[in-house]
């Protein structure tokens, strides 16, 4: 009773924290559930495919029915589909994604080795996309009907329609053949003059031409426009407060987070092509090679890792939403 106000304050703050906590736990549970679903989808695809690649995954790469049967007996491999699924899931839980058919190397190790390269590429490209889209969105939200805004909008559409592989060639030609900035080598080679530029090139190419720039711009502009028309922004203007301070969370932060989470799969998909063009030793190139060779343990592992990555971005979005927006947190 000494400080009723302070006690009350503590409880409301605590309640807010708890609400965010509950939200985060729920997001985590949802992520786990979705990853389970992802694994099931992958399992079903492989299970249905001709040639029974799934047996190979569990039983090794012994050729011939008789040899496999003996392996099955020796290892105690389950024969029902759900038994196989669970066994496979158990393997994955232990970090065992099988071995590559082509090279015989454990897939998990390969993914760990190539993964960071793709991570740089995708995160960097997302950054480039945002660096491109955000100023454009802000400008066209501000000058919606200006001539320059219209021209920029058209330019964004144009950029989004450019085939990323062709843009890759153009950039390589310009930088390497025309201006001779550096020799054509892969990123794993020893440091080169302008080597950093070579790492930047695919990032820029994928960031510009992953096909999402126009959608990201449009979404940011529309959300900002919508929020600027909200009643509470009018209140902020009427009280002479800086509008940006009031519009930032709902008009900028949330749509940004949303776009990062929503466009992650597109950028990952684009990475497959860009890694091919630039000879970039990442997961995308691995996936391409694996599809070429029907090396399904590899492509399976990559699919699951990529999906997990997408879910991670969504999880991040969920956490930011929970932290920023008390409304969703109270639901």
């Amino acid at each position: 009773m000494v400080h009723p106000g302070r006690g009350a304050k503590v409880t409301t703050k605590l309640a807010a924290f708890r609400r965010v906590g509950v939200m985060v736990v729920r997001e985590l549970a949802l992520t786990a559930l979705l990853l389970l679903g992802v694994s099931l989808v992958v399992f079903v695809i492989l299970h249905l495919s001709p040639g029974d690649p799934f047996s190979v995954l569990l039983e090794g790469q012994a050729p011939g029915q008789a040899a496999r049967a003996s392996v099955r007996e020796a290892l105690g491999v389950p024969t029902t589909w759900y038994g196989r699924y669970l066994a496979w899931l158990g393997n994955m839980a232990h970090g065992n994604l099988g071995t590559s058919i082509r090279t015989g190397v454990p897939v998990a190790g390969e993914i760990v080795r190539a993964g960071p390269n793709t991570l740089y590429l995708t995160l960097g490209s997302l950054l480039v996309t945002l660096l491109l889209a955000v100023p454009l969105a802000l400008y066209s939200a501000w000058r919606r009907s200006g001539a320059l805004a219209r021209a920029l909008t058209l330019a964004v559409y144009l950029i989004s329609a450019v085939p990323v592989f062709w843009l890759g060639y153009v950039v390589i030609y310009l930088c390497i053949h025309r201006f001779g900035l550096f020799p054509l080598l892969s990123a794993t080679a020893e440091p080169q003059r302008h080597g950093w530029l070579y790492i930047l090139l695919p990032i820029i190419v994928l960031g510009v031409a992953n096909g999402t720039v126009s959608e990201v711009t449009r979404h940011l502009r529309e959300e900002l426009g919508r929020v600027m028309a909200e009643d509470y922004i009018r209140t902020a203007r009427a009280k002479g407060a800086p509008v940006w301070r009031h519009a930032f969370k709902e008009g900028f932060l949330l749509p940004m987070t949303e776009m990062i989470a929503a466009k992650m799969p597109f950028v990952l998909g684009g990475a497959v092509i860009v890694e091919q063009v630039f000879n970039w030793p990442g997961l995308g190139r691995m996936a391409w090679q694996a599809a070429q060779d029907r090396d399904f343990p590899v492509i399976m592992g990559i699919t699951i890792v990529a999906a997990a990555f997408v879910r991670l971005a969504s999880l991040l979005r969920g956490v930011i939403y929970a932290g920023v927006n008390p409304r969703t947190a109270t639901e």
């Binding site: 304050k9 009427a238 002479g240 969370k249 109270t330």
Partner: protein, 386 residues
């Protein structure tokens, strides 16, 4: 009117443009109003009468397409009053520089407006006025508060922006004092709550606290009770009445609820179809059987269910007296009187004028003006009275 006006709006026009119909929506079409210091002016009207747009235009809160196109808003804030009435300035200064209006047959048919230039100009002239000198509360209090900030943060922000109090702890204490002032229960608890956790009535109290916290010279209350429950409405009205007598803050009260106006306002302006039909002391304008009165005002009062209950003049067998027809479409404003099509008091002597030319707002007694040929002779373009 002996006291000097705090706010004087003259010949304000705010238009919008419908692309689909290629026509102007003449939301505010030549409105003149003035509010004396310490007075409460109630602006009543149905939806589409332009009452809210008038207030938003005066604060420069209307966006383009094309928005405010003519008029002046003279404002004399707190400093101006101390300096002896010389602090008056036009908030819509230089409007004519940014807007070109083309008239044909006395009617605006085209507008060219430099929107970015005008917006920049508005922001300049409103600096130090919005929130500080003129504060505003809105209808839909729940959506008018920022859902991402606590009630306390929003009130403290107003205090730190507009009063000498800059220290956050001190601002908090001030904010809590204001929450107490508007009878928010457990103000310290509410300070840290988000608007979503509060009921509509509590949100409106918070809005009022936020508006008053900067100690403005003028409070604009735009439909402060709309959308709230009956018992809550009467609480908010009681609060506004209490603040009026306690703080004596000059108030522009905008509402469609005649009951609220009759409780709170000293003077009343009745708006219809984008213009002021009648302007005068509340007791003369709103008393059901006092004449003279604009036909619209008397018909509006008679159509209220309460008029019916109290044995109003038009009550016959439980049917409400009605104003026939539809509310005038501000996209299709007639050349004559806006109310002519629904008016049941047109006489043969004035009919021709009613149809062809809009009457002027003419004084019938000191401080009471009516826009009707029944009481005045001049058409609108003649000498403007008042």
């Amino acid at each position: 009117m002996t006291r000097s006006p705090v706010l004087e709006i003259s010949d304000l026009r705010t238009y919008f443009y419908s692309r689909a119909k290629q026509a102007f929506i003449r939301s505010v079409d030549g409105v003149s109003l003035s509010i004396a210091r310490g007075e409460t002016l109630g602006v009543v009207g149905e939806s589409g009468s332009g009452k809210s747009v008038t207030a938003l235009s005066a604060l420069g809160l209307i966006g383009g397409s094309p928005g405010v196109i003519t008029g002046a808003v003279e404002f004399a804030g707190g400093d101006g009053a101390r300096a002896g009435g010389n602090g008056r300035r036009n908030l819509l200064q230089d409007l004519a520089r940014h807007v070109t209006v083309t008239e044909r047959d006395g009617r605006i048919v085209a507008v060219a407006k430099d929107e970015p230039g005008w917006q920049a100009q508005v922001e300049r002239s409103m600096r130090g006025v919005r929130g500080k000198e003129i504060a505003m509360i809105f209808q839909n209090p729940k959506s008018s508060l920022n859902p991402f900030l606590t009630v306390g943060q929003q009130i403290s922000e107003a205090i730190r922006l507009h009063t000498p109090v800059k220290d956050s702890r001190e601002a908090k204490e001030r904010a809590i004092a204001w929450l107490e002032r508007v009878h928010m229960d457990s103000p310290r608890l509410r300070f840290d709550q988000y608007p979503d956790g509060l009921s509509g009535g509590m949100c409106q109290r918070a809005m009022i606290a936020m508006a008053l916290a900067s100690e403005p010279s003028l409070l604009i209350a735009d439909e402060p009770t709309t959308g709230l429950d009956a018992t809550i409405q009467s609480r908010i009205v009681a609060l506004l009445a209490e603040l009026k007598s306690g703080l004596g803050v000059t108030t522009l009260l905008i509402t469609h609820d005649i009951r609220v106006v009759s409780r709170l306002a000293d003077t009343v302006a009745v708006m219809y179809g984008g213009t002021v039909m009648e302007h005068g002391p509340a007791r003369d304008v709103l008393a059901p059987s006092v004449e003279p009165k604009h036909p619209y005002t008397s018909a509006l009062l008679a159509s209220l269910p309460s008029a019916q209950k109290n044995g109003g003049p038009h009550a016959i067998d439980g049917r409400l007296s009605v104003i026939r027809g539809e509310v005038v479409d501000t996209m299709d404003v007639p050349r004559g009187c806006r109310f002519y099509a629904r008016c049941d008091r047109v006489t043969d002597t004035i009919r021709a004028r009613c149809m062809s030319q809009e009457p002027a707002l003419a004084a019938v007694t000191a401080g009471h003006q009516i826009r009707c040929y029944l009481y005045g002779d001049e058409p609108r373009d003649g000498a403007r009275a008042g």
